[in-house]
Symmetry: C2
Subunit: 67 residues, 2 copies
Amino acid sequence: MSVSTYTVTGMTCGHCVSSVKEEVAEVPGVTEVDVDLASGRVDVSGASPDDAAIRAAIREAGYEVAV
Amino acid sequence: MSVSTYTVTGMTCGHCVSSVKEEVAEVPGVTEVDVDLASGRVDVSGASPDDAAIRAAIREAGYEVAV
């Protein structure tokens, strides 16, 4: 189990948080997604989920990964 | 058919717009809901839908009616 942290820009409300959570949760290996709206911090827990797939999922939800 | 205009505060993104549209569209008599995110303007068309029910639907979606 590992936790990877991303900074996501463009989220403005709880609906945005839900969208990111739902998309990232679908990435194979992801077991938990924590999102802090105010800071844009997204913590992804799982059994080594693919970094590129997580970034793609965030973009798919309609947001940008800053870090 | 009439059109009533409301000013809604708190909408920050397209998800918010969708939430308001969905809730208001469920009010009996409502046939069309147009929302402008930037201004918060919500135009509700229909066969005399109940004003109080529309305001309640907007609050139910999680937003405030300013006017």
